[in-house]
Amino acid sequence: MAQIGQFALALAWVVTAYSIIASLLGIRLKHDNLIASGRNAALGTVACITTAIVCLGYLFAVSDFSIKYIAAHSNRDLPIYFKVSSIWGGQEGSLLFWGWLLTVYAALVIIQNWRKHSAMMPYVVAVLMSTSFFFTWMHLFVVNPFNQTVFLQADASPLPFVPRDGQGLNPLLQDPYMVIHPPMLYLGFVGFAVPFAFAMAAMITKQLGDTWIRTTRRWTMVAWMFLSIGILLGGKWAYHELGWGGFWAWDPVENASLMPWLIGTAFLNSVMVQEKKGMLKVWNMVLIILTYIMSLFGTLLTRSGMVQSVHAFAQSPVGGYFRAFIIVALSGALYLLFDRLPYLKSENQMESIVSRESSFMFNNLILLAACFAVFWGTVFPIISEAVTGSKITVGAPFFNKVNVPIAIFLVFLTGVGPLLAWRRASPNSLRRNFLWPAIIALASGVPLYLLGIRHFYAWLSLVMSIFVTVTIVREFYKGAAARTIGTGETLVEAIVNLTLRNTRRYGGYVIHFGFILLFVGLAGQAFTTDAEGEMAIGDTISIREYTIRMDKLAIDDTPNYSADKATVSLFEYGKKVANLYPEKRLYKAGQETQPTTEVSIYSTAKNDVYVVFQGGTRDGKKAIVQVFYNPLVMWVWIGGIVLVVGTLIALLPNKKAILRRRSEIESKEEPKEIEAKA
């Protein structure tokens, strides 16, 4: 099976190269069959890499430890679902997974757009296949997942051998969230290759209207949605698995996923200005280039270990190749951009600084500043070492101090932007749109302060969140109320129909609301408290309105791991509300002998009670338990769900457009019917 996989990879490499050459040569020679052949080769790549990935999955399923990658990331007693997720649990497999997703995306793009955009598509294929070529080359020659397990003899010559069992999957990755988090993240990273490829094709063919943007709008949104889900699931995994009480540590690998998300968000907002007003064409090109480059940079950070990270499981020497590829892709894109600048002129002018257009520009500026701050903090240890010769650390306190004020300003703009008119907002409309939201937000600041929210940034975040929420609710109400008068619909019906008639606008508001809920959850982290103690059976620890009582300590033994398991009763104001089961696990297989934490969480809309079983005391009679009181965490996850729902709404076609299209089709069919009757 390994040989089939190996052959499929080699074939994929050749076919990808052929696809690029045939597409470009076909365009140059104006040879339609050659262009079509390039397209078919691109579709063939999917079959090749799918074969390779199926082979790898099979080798994991049958625990074939003659393959180095399988031996290093699996063991016989690993549950089957973790064996499947081991495909992307290490370097070689995760890059193969990246490459496979890219070819699947490429195939879908070809099927969807080949006829509609015949001039652009050969270039789109060439750009996507160029990325695919880099990855298939990496699969084959740098990080081949089908390499044999070898034993180095005394004279350093390799001797193939089959170990009796594998080293097992890193225990930190043996978590349900880790089964789904990397695929989501990669679907996001890889997805941005599609709008990038269209942007390059648009520049090459000089078709620089908004066709490429309209064509890729849904692709960009889908990629952005997957990346959002991936980031949130990563946070959820960290919260459940790492056991330090939080979900975001500003780790370089976390930052790697946040950077393309921030620029992708700027791009999604900014393209609206181009669609509506024909402006910011150069800017949008810059944004999509940066988004794609940041996706590659994110993969580089995750996979190379160029900056020290808790994701140490992801390190390997692929950095040089990635850096070279990023430089080539960036140089090519920037050369095209400079060459095509004369074709990227604005069709309209900016009239006022108080307008929807300029609010989009400020929103973009803030998102880019946030991205730059994250990038700067992530790479600063390298810069500092190069300049001063001494290493320094850039941890969470730096990122929080720099990014929190930027994020609060972003929340403010989230509320302001949609309420400003295009071209120019008059003082009257400003007063009409902002008076009540501002009054309600400021008025709510007083009770928030009296309730004990004295942390300035947390207070300001909540006040801003209320401001934005009021503006969003007002927008829905205003539109729905007008509909109820005109159509006689109930308010709920009117809201639903209003949303369906303009899914992009109202889906956008829902996304903004999701972002606000998420932000409220983040603000709550300013009030996290914890307590720690040694507990014998019957002992208690109190934190705020909660008390935990140690009821039982037991040992659990499974084929995969053994665990110390505590049973803890949780009381709220003296009334029992839950049983919690924190664990300390010791996995049996492999290289990681370090125990892992399985926290137990009682979650409500108000707060989480997060119980960590730290271990036993030296005399073995007591358990050391840490309890965190984490306010509002649930809103981070709810906000994430709302954000995804909003994106799905925005992806729906407008009812208005569907009705228009239907009437167009009917009016075309009518004459035929008449002719038929005649």
């Binding site: 790492l242 056991g243 330090w244 009480g245 939080g246 540590a249 609206m272 808790v310 002018q349 900016m350 006022s352 600084i353 300029s358 520009m361 500026l365 803030i366 880019l368 500043a369 730059f372 701050a373 700067w376 903090g377 600063f380 500092s384 300049v387 001063t388 001494s390 320094i392 650390t393 941890g395 969470a396 306190p397 730096f398 101090k401 720099v402 930027i406 008119a421 539109g479 408290t529 914890d530 720690e532 040992i555 053994s562 110390d564 300390k584 010791l586 370090q594 125990p595 892992t596 934490t597 960590v612 730290q614 271990g615 036993g616 005391t617 030296r618 073995g620 358990a623 050391i624 840490q626």
Partner: protein, 145 residues
């Protein structure tokens, strides 16, 4: 099997120890996390370091003297954020400088666009005025995106 871990007993106020502990990275070399967040099992560093902070607080040391002492003892990498001095000052300044420069550029571009718009001849301005009226009327019928 009860897995054994080092007990953490702190004489000083727990919250104060946490506040100062967040200014440092655990030097265990495994987690690269904040001192207060390093909870990996069997860590030989975080417990003693937190106890050291507690002891220094009990002695009446100031935050700054604890920070200086730790930086001297464990090296500058123990600090969780770059020091606000020398070249490392650029870590703090650059993001905000970039934001301010970006903001000025946005204002500059908007103003430049506006001045071009104002330079439109008078006749065109009249047309623009009527156009605006038409658009305002249209807005009553078409919801704005």
């Amino acid at each position: 099997m009860l897995v054994v871990t080092a007990p953490l007993s702190l004489a000083a106020d727990r919250q104060r120890v946490k506040e100062i502990g967040q200014k440092f990275i655990c030097v265990c070399g495994v987690c690269n996390q904040l001192l207060t967040e390093c909870n990996h099992f069997g860590c030989q560093s975080s417990g003693p370091m937190l106890a050291e902070i507690a002891a220094e607080l009990d002695e009446g040391q100031t935050d700054q003297s604890i920070i200086s002492h730790f930086a001297e003892k464990y090296g500058i990498t123990v600090l969780s954020a770059p020091p606000v001095s020398g070249f490392n000052l650029t870590a703090w300044i650059t993001p905000f400088a970039a934001l301010i420069i970006g903001g000025l550029l946005v204002v500059y571009f908007v103003r430049q666009f506006r001045s071009k718009w104002r330079a439109v001849p008078a006749a065109d301005v009249d047309v623009a005025k009527y156009q605006q009226k038409v658009e305002e009327e249209l807005k009553k019928f078409i919801p704005e995106d």
